[in-house]
Subunit: 363 residues, 2 copies
C-alpha cells in the first residue's frame, strides 16, 4: 500500500511544490573534515539515485527493511546547500544565501541551526520518513554527519482531513491560506531563481529559510477567542478574514467595523505579513507542527517548523520578518529558536543527472 507517489524528477525538486504532507522531517548535515569535492560529488550522485528509488517505493542496496511494504507513501526528498558548504568547496556564495540578519526577539540555538547541507523529507507516514533519513545518513557516512534533525506533522490529507484542506497549527489556527499558488501571476519569479539568475547552478532552484518557531501555547490558550482572532486577522473556525467572506476571500485591509475601527487591526498578523505591507514580498510557505514533550518549566516544547521558499530571501522572508518581529501582535506568542538558510538547486530531468551536479562539476 502507500501507493501515493510524488515524482522525484522534474525541473524543481519535489518538496518545493508538493502538497502539505502528514510528516515533515528535516536534517542538516555538516561535511566531515577532509571531505573532498570528489566525495561530495559521489554523495550527491548516490543520494539522487537512492531518493529516486525510495520515492517510488523501492529500496536502495543494503536496505534495513524498515519500510518494507509501505510503498512510496508520498515521500519527497529535497536537498539544499548552506553558505558554509559553498565556502568549504571554494565556491562563491550567492547573494541570496548571505546570512539572515538577527531579528528582534530571535533566541536562536546555534547548535540546532545552519548546516552545510539541509534535507527536507516529507511523507504520509513517519516510518517512511525515518527509513529514508536512515538511508541518507548511512550513505553520507565518511562525507557528512548529521548536525541537527527535527520533525513535524500535519493532518493526513484525504485520510483524517479532506484533500486540499489548509493545515491548522497548534494554536488551532488555519495556517497557510495566503501562501501563493503555482498559477498565481508572478509565482515563478517569487519562488524560483530565473533563467538569467546568477549563479547558473541555481536556475530553477529556490532559497529555503527554515525556522523552528516555538509557540507559547499556554499564554495563547488563555486569550479569549475573539482576541486570538484579532491577533491573527482571521476567524478561528473557518479561517475567513475578519474583513469578511470565506477562507480564500482576499483581505480588505481598509474595511472598517461599525465602530469605525479596522476590521483587520493594525497589528494583525495577516496585515503585517501581507505582500501589500512588504513591498510585494511573497514566500511559498510550508509548516509542520512539532511537539517535543514538556520543558522543565512545565510548558510544551511545541510549535511550528516553518519553511519558506523564495527566489531571494533578502526581498522576501527577511523583509517580512523584519516587520513581523516588531509590529506583528502574534510575535508576543512565538519564539524563533532555530534558523537555517539553504540554496535548493533545481530538480533533475535526466536519468543520469544528479542534484547539485552543475555546482559540483564546475569546481
Amino acid at each position: 500500500m502507500g501507493e501515493r507517489h510524488i515524482p522525484f524528477d522534474g525541473p524543481h525538486q519535489a518538496g518545493v511544490l508538493a502538497p502539505p504532507a502528514a510528516q515533515g522531517w528535516f536534517a542538516a548535515f555538516d561535511l566531515t573534515k577532509g571531505a573532498t569535492p570528489a566525495r561530495v560529488k559521489e554523495l550527491l550522485r548516490t543520494w539522487t539515485r537512492d531518493a529516486r528509488l525510495m520515492t517510488t517505493g523501492r529500496a536502495p542496496s543494503g536496505d534495513d527493511s524498515m519500510a518494507l511494504g509501505h510503498g512510496p507513501s508520498s515521500l519527497t526528498i529535497t536537498v539544499g546547500f548552506g553558505a558554509s558548504f559553498l565556502r568549504s568547496l571554494g565556491a562563491p556564495v550567492p547573494g541570496p544565501l548571505e546570512p539572515l540578519p538577527v531579528f528582534p526577539r530571535d533566541r536562536l540555538d546555534a547548535r540546532r541551526g545552519d548546516g552545510d547541507i539541509g534535507v527536507l523529507l516529507t511523507a504520509d507516514d513517519a516510518v517512511v520518513a525515518a527509513h529514508a533519513l536512515r538511508a541518507l545518513v548511512r550513505t553520507a557516512r565518511g562525507t557528512a554527519d548529521v548536525r541537527w534533525q527535527m520533525k513535524g506533522f500535519n493532518a493526513i490529507e484525504g485520510v483524517t482531513v479532506k484533500r486540499g484542506t489548509t493545515p491548522r497549527n497548534l494554536m488551532g489556527q488555519v495556517d497557510g491560506t495566503g501562501s501563493p499558488r503555482p498559477d498565481d501571476p508572478g509565482f515563478d519569479a517569487s519562488v524560483f531563481a530565473g533563467p538569467e539568475s546568477d549563479p547558473a547552478w541555481m536556475r530553477g532552484g529556490s532559497y529555503l529559510v527554515f525556522r523552528r518557531i516555538r509557540m507559547l501555547l499556554d499564554e495563547w490558550d488563555v486569550l479569549p477567542r475573539v482576541r486570538q482572532e484579532q491577533v491573527i486577522g482571521r476567524r478561528k473556525d473557518t479561517g475567513a478574514p475578519l474583513s469578511g467572506g470565506t477562507e480564500f476571500t482576499a483581505f480588505d485591509l481598509g474595511r472598517q467595523r461599525a465602530d469605525g475601527g479596522l476590521a483587520i487591526g493594525p497589528g494583525a498578523h495577516v496585515r503585517q505579513a501581507s505582500a501589500a505591507a512588504n513591498s510585494g514580498a511573497v514566500i511559498l510557505r510550508k509548516g509542520f507542527s512539532y511537539f517535543d514533550g514538556y520543558r522543565a518549566d512545565g510548558t510544551p516544547d511545541a510549535g511550528l517548523l516553518f519553511l519558506a521558499f523564495q527566489s531571494d530571501p533578502r526581498n522576501a522572508f527577511t523583509r517580512i520578518q523584519q516587520r513581523l518581529a516588531l509590529a506583528d501582535e502574534l510575535s508576543r506568542f512565538i519564539v524563533h529558536e532555530s534558523s537555517a538558510l539553504f540554496a535548493v538547486p533545481p530538480g533533475v530531468t535526466h536519468p543520469a543527472a544528479y542534484l547539485g551536479q552543475s555546482l559540483v562539476e564546475a569546481l
Copy 2:
C-alpha cells in the same frame, strides 16, 4: 473526515485491545501538592467526559480548535494509576503494582519514568493526539501536571500498509507477531484482572508496563542480515520463524538445521521471550517507534516505546525481562532508558460512570 472510531465505552479501556495505531503518545502526570481526593475525583470525571467527546470527534468546552475537521481519527485515551498515586490518596497498593525490580543492563532516567497517572493516547493522526493531550493537560491544571511525555509512531494501517499488518520496528524487524489475540485460550486471564481479583476496583483492568527502549541502530545495521535474523529468530523479510513456515507459524524450538544446530538458536530473542521459556508468561504488547533526533555522539536517539498489558507483571513482564536481560542476544543492541508501571482500571459501561470511579469513591 477521519471517521474511524474506536468506542470509548466498554468493559476494558479502549487502548488495551485497539489495533496498532499510527501515533502512540504517552504522558505521565504527577498530582500537584495538596490535590485533594475531591479534586482527583473531579479530574477523572472531567477526563472521562472529554475523552468520550474527543473519541467521537466532538470538542470539549473551551476547545482550542487544533483538530477541528479531523473527526475521531481512531483516537483512544487510556488512563492508569501509579503506585505513588495510590499512596498519595492513602489507598493500598496492589501487589501487581509493586515496583519492578532493577534489571541487568537497565539505564533508567528517573525523570522520564514512573508518575502518578499515566495516559496513553493513540490515533491515526498526530494532530488529533496532540489536541487530545493538550485538552487533558488543560483540564488537569491545578490537580496534576505533566511529569514526562513521549510519542511514537507506526505505519498507518489501511493507508500506508495493509490493514492487519504487523508493525515493523526501526531495526526493520516485524515486531509483535507473537502477541496474544483475544480469541486465544487464556487471553483474558493473562491480560485482565479477573472478577475475583483484589482490589475490586481493578477487576476488568490491566497492569501496564511502559519502557522506552533505545535501539543501537548503528551497531545493528552493520550486522549481516543472516546474523540479525539469528539474533531475532525470524526472517527479516517475512517475519517467518527460522524454524520454517510463514509469519504466524508456531515456532519449532527443537528444530535442527542440517548441520545439527538449532534453527532458532539458544540466545534468539523469540526463544528467550517465548511463553515456553518463561513458565507460560504472556504479555499483550504494543510498540511505537520513536525517533528523537541525534545524540551528541552522532547516534540516533531512536527506538521503541514498548507497552505491555498483563494481569500481573510479576508473572509476566518481570519474569520475561529477567530472562531477556541476561540471555537474549538482542539485549546487546538495546538499552532500556525509561520505565513506568500503571494500574489501568476497567473501562466505563454507563454514561454516568467515570474511569477509576470505584477506586476514588471508596476513599
